[in-house]
């Protein structure tokens, strides 16, 4: 996508594996993507495709047995993979904010929500106790937790799921980050609450000009909210495009199958086009295309030769032999 300001974040050839009793599980196998300033970029895929691992790897929050094996994550000119821990700590929560799927488990149950949001402000903005409390009140109002003066001293268990997610957003946005990583931010919420949270994120994005990396399995949320989309399957990006191209002219057989498998409003077809089989486990990824075993258009060389991610037009890339001019050796 052409932008004026250039990319805010560039991930190149990121590789992450989990080292388990059963051996090495390659979760992310050479992912590259860019996030332009102020835009919403979606990373979509089904459970286990590695999308959340990408989110954690960006700020190096992976814990054992996960390890980053290679690649670069360049954020405003600095490579976060090689940055010393103290320097990275100054970026996390300040320049890059994060919200997760489970607002229930991401908040500390023994502190009030006011104390938890204020902590971000002590650490990153060096505010005094008094100044921080005033700022927290302002943030709570902004994310729609009202009356803020009463809510600020409540504990997480006194709030509903939607309210807790608002607290997470207030915390993530306390230092006005340039990038917000939102990992399934509305998955645990009801549809009407999901709509509230998405509206809120959209309004705050417009106001603060921040970029959002939206990680989700929900294609409806992607279509309504993102400008660019990356589709992940078995640890790799198989297709990337602007949101209109992706939904109108999907190229990869997996993306096509996914869109056909989706029950759509107003298209009450007799039958959904199910995708046969299941996703291979990371221990048995084939050397070639990981979708080959389920692909309706599979060819002889697909399971053994890996298709490169190539551009079919300036805003559309796909990793599939069907769209390659040259056939593998």
């Amino acid at each position: 996508m052409p932008t004026l300001s250039g990319p805010l974040l560039t991930i190149s050839d990121l590789r992450v594996s989990f080292f388990t009793d059963r051996g090495e599980a390659p979760a992310v196998r050479g992912v590259s993507l860019t996030i332009p300033a102020g835009q919403t970029v979606a990373l979509v895929g089904e459970s286990g495709c590695g999308k959340s691992t990408v989110a954690l790897a960006i700020t190096r929050l992976l814990s054992d047995p996960g390890r980053i094996l290679g690649g670069q994550v360049v954020f405003k000119g600095r490579d976060l993979i090689s940055l010393p821990e103290p320097a990275l700590r100054a970026i996390r929560g300040k320049e890059i904010g994060m919200i997760f799927q489970e607002p229930m488990t991401s908040l500390n149950p023994v502190f009030t929500i006011g104390e938890q949001i204020a902590e971000v402000l002590y650490v990153h903005a060096g505010l005094s106790k008094r100044a921080a409390r005033l700022e927290v009140l302002r943030l709570l109002e902004k994310v729609g937790i009202v009356p803020a003066a009463r809510r600020i001293d409540q504990y997480p268990h006194e709030l509903s799921g939607g309210m807790k997610q608002r607290v997470m957003i207030a915390m993530a946005l306390a230092c006005q980050p340039d990038l917000l990583i939102a990992d399934e931010p509305t998955t645990a919420l009801d549809v009407t609450v999901q709509a509230q949270i998405l509206e809120l994120l959209y309004a705050l994005q417009q106001e603060l000009h921040m970029a959002i990396l939206l990680i989700t399995h929900n294609l409806g949320v992607v279509a309504q909210f993102a400008q660019a989309v990356h589709v992940m399957y078995a640890g790799k990006i198989v297709e990337q495009a602007d949101v209109h191209s992706l939904f109108q002219h999907p190229l990869h057989p997996y993306t096509r199958a996914l869109l056909k498998a989706l029950p759509r409003p107003g298209h009450r077809a007799e039958r959904l086009a199910a995708i046969a089989g299941t996703v291979p486990t990371p221990f048995q990824y084939p050397p070639g295309c990981a979708f080959a075993s389920r692909c309706p258009d599979v060819r002889g060389h697909c399971p053994t030769a890996e298709p490169p991610l190539t551009a079919t037009d300036p805003s559309h890339k796909v990793a599939c032999w069907l769209h390659e001019r040259s056939v593998p050796p």
Partner: protein, 345 residues
């Protein structure tokens, strides 16, 4: 796919209530009641799928379980094939279970990890004395094939299977006794899109082949629109609207149904729906609001909504009726113009 109009309902639910006590203190006295299901009435016709939608805590799962008497209803009437389900004693309940089954949401916790797949599927046949020995084995294999699994899986344990395969095992278990009616409680919510489509197709195939009726409970409007013939919408323990599926999605009348449908993100970037964003959260069912339970969040609230319950439509108008419980529509004259009646409370 809908059954003939004027058919007799297979299941009739009238004024179903389930209140859960909140117990406190030394003698565990009930200090308050959670009105999980409050005065719910609907029918399910032979061969049809009734979708029951609503958000978490609205009581939809409690409705499903009360019908089967997996939990005992507080009040109301449930008739299955003309038989009053609430009057059945323990022995007669076993008769009921042969005809009414359930499929659960979580295929991980609803299968006993210590039993083989064969034992899980065959248990009901054995307990009901319908098959033993070789015959039992043959039936189990048949059921596995029926749900798209290999008959050799009967000696495996649940942990060896993926979510989609486990849900197939759950479906085979529900089918074992040749039921006529199955409560499907969020059967695809825990599954990925590609697997969800497989299970939805399987449920539709089985329905056609075996003439099953489903009560399909879900929070996912896209799934319900795809699979249901008629839809009932619940809010805070009550029904707010019921209609044939196309009618409900094309012409939703209740402000809650309208908000719910508009909030559902459409997987098409060219369609930008005008979202009705509701303020606030669902209130507690311990102290439901007076009048219409939706009034504190309703964008079209009027004075009488705060004090007076919306009139209840009578349910005996067949399958095509569109009913709404809302003051906006006067004395509950539904869109279909059918005769509708009185206040029940």
């Amino acid at each position: 796919m809908s059954a003939q109009p004027r058919a007799r309902p297979l299941l009739e639910v009238r004024s179903l209530k389930k209140y859960f006590p909140i117990r406190k203190g030394l003698f565990s006295r009930a200090t308050a009641w959670v009105r999980a299901v409050d005065d719910v009435s609907f029918d399910v016709y032979p061969g049809e799928t009734l979708g029951l939608v609503g958000e978490s805590g609205c009581g939809k799962t409690t409705v499903g379980r009360s019908i089967l008497r997996l939990i005992e209803p507080t009040d109301g009437e449930v008739r299955f094939a003309g038989v009053d389900v609430r009057q059945l004693d323990r022995k007669q309940l076993r008769w009921l279970r042969r005809h009414m089954q359930i499929i659960f949401q979580d295929p991980y916790s609803s299968l006993n990890p210590r039993m083989t797949v064969g034992a899980i599927i065959g248990e009901a046949l054995y307990v009901h004395g319908l098959a033993r020995g070789k015959e039992l084995e043959r039936r189990v294999q048949e059921l596995l094939v029926h749900v798209g699994l290999s008959p050799s899986y009967r000696s495996h344990y649940p942990h060896e299977f993926s979510g989609g395969q486990r849900q197939r095992i759950g479906i085979a278990r529900a089918l074992a006794l040749n039921p006529r009616f199955i409560v499907c409680d969020e059967p695809v919510s825990a599954l990925d899109v590609s697997i969800q489509a497989q299970i939805l197709n399987l449920l539709q195939d089985l329905q056609k082949e075996l003439g099953l009726s489903y009560l399909f409970i879900s929070h996912d409007l896209n799934v319900v629109e795809h699979i249901a013939d008629r839809v009932a919408v619940m809010y805070l323990g009550r029904l707010v609207e019921t209609a044939p599926v196309d009618e409900l999605f094309r012409n939703p009348l209740h402000p809650y149904t309208q908000a719910l449908i508009s909030a559902n993100p459409i997987p098409d970037p060219t369609i930008r729906s005008e979202r009705i964003v509701l303020a606030g959260d669902v209130p507690s069912p311990v102290q439901p609001p007076t009048g219409c339970p939706f009034h504190p969040r309703c964008p079209r609230v009027m004075d009488r909504c705060k004090t007076t319950e919306p009139p209840l439509g009578r349910i005996d108008q067949g399958q095509d009726a569109h009913m709404v419980w809302c003051h906006l529509y006067g004395d509950a004259r539904p869109a279909s113009g059918a005769e509708v009646g009185q206040h029940s409370s």
